[in-house]
């Protein structure tokens, strides 16, 4: 279990750096997605410490995945629009 916690931590930190440091907006969106996956991984791994299987964090993660999809879609479309109208794909 510790192994997956470490993995989630490493993924989260890597993605955190990526979100702040990359210039291309699509890359930031990818980093944001990796970051949310790391958080889900953390949640599910911690939930396994409880005796029996705890379905509540699983349901939370399912909800989180849907929310991530919608935010990703909106962000991707915004990047495409920004490119079309201002010919750039990074923030000023």
């Amino acid at each position: 279990m510790t192994f997956y916690l470490l993995l989630a931590t490493a993924l989260f930190l890597m993605a955190l750096y990526g979100v702040f440091a990359s210039r291309h907006l699509l890359r930031r969106i990818l980093a944001l997605n990796v970051m949310s996956t790391a958080v889900f991984l953390w949640l599910v791994t911690v939930a396994r410490a409880a005796p029996g299987l705890d379905p509540v964090p699983h349901a939370m993660v399912l909800t989180g995945i849907v929310v991530t999809v919608s935010t990703t879609a909106v962000a991707v479309v915004l990047v495409v629009r920004l490119r079309a109208s201002h010919r750039r794909h990074d923030l000023p």
């Binding site: 510790t2 192994f3 997956y4 916690l5 993995l7 931590t9 989260f12 930190l13 890597m14 993605a15 955190l16 750096y17 990526g18 702040f20 440091a21 990359s22 210039r23 291309h24 699509l26 890359r27 990818l30 997605n33 990796v34 996956t37 889900f40 991984l41 599910v44 791994t45 911690v46 396994r48 410490a49 409880a50 005796p51 029996g52 299987l53 705890d54 379905p55 509540v56 699983h58 349901a59 939370m60 993660v61 399912l62 909800t63 995945i65 929310v67 999809v69 919608s70 935010t71 990703t72 879609a73 909106v74 991707v76 479309v77 915004l78 990047v79 495409v80 629009r81 490119r83 079309a84």
Partner: protein, 316 residues
Amino acid sequence: MDALVPLFDALLGALLLWLAWQSIFAADLFRAVVSFMIFGLLMALAWVRLEAPDIALAEAAIGAGVTGALLLSALGRLPRERYAEAAQHILSHSYWLLFWAPVVLLAWFLWSLEAAPPSPPGLGEMVAIHQPAAGVDNPVTAVLLAFRALDTLLEIGVLLLGSLAIWSLGPSPWSTGPAMPSPALPAMARALFPAFVLVSVYLLWRGSHAPGGAFPAGAVMGAGGVLMLLAGARPWLTGGEQGPWRWLLTLGLGTMLVVASVTQFAGYVFFQYPSDWSGRLITLLELAAGLSIALLLFALYLGGQPPVRWRDRGWQ
């Protein structure tokens, strides 16, 4: 065999780390997107290892379906430069100092977890006690649609808000030109479409007693819609103001609200179901939510308001 399973985990973890690194820092943007898609693929395996088949199913359905399609389509609309500048990082290396704070915090957290392994009571027992009242056998479905139905309501609300935001940005940016790469494509789509319907109905049905449910079913159906669109079918989801699609997009949210309010007027708490009706109500909600999740994901993929009339896209 006992030594093999940790080896499997270690290999999986190393692959995940490498792919995440590639998808964030690779010089070529297409390589980054492909790495991200493979990352999603392997995350499904990780969920399986963590005994979360529900999440594995959702991750598979969404990562291989709408998210991948959306990222690839967006990449097709961005200019294909060598992305040399895209790999540039805007922070100087001294900013790495900023990241030591969370590192230290997380290390401390991990250490405290190791030092005193928590034995959290968890909510598993409570769910198990109340589950018979919910009328479904799958605990995750019971949590999603009975105990924490408010979360699901808001989740569908977020999906609806997302597609509203996208539609308000203008018409769909993907080319709907005549490019049909092969005559085999429409044939494949026709052959696969029944399978899409079959699998999503099966997942919906399974949701009441095993991993499955409205969201994976809706995601599979939405991906089926994307495939049909790419194969040249003219969807009946149009930008015109007439038609049933606006009602269908809000079907999930509407049904949940109606059920919640009716039970409230009948003297129960918001989203508390009468116990004889619980199973049937949950099935109804799943059906409505699955249908509108499929449509909403398809609408999200379109990337803008669909045209009032879809053009025919024959093979060139």
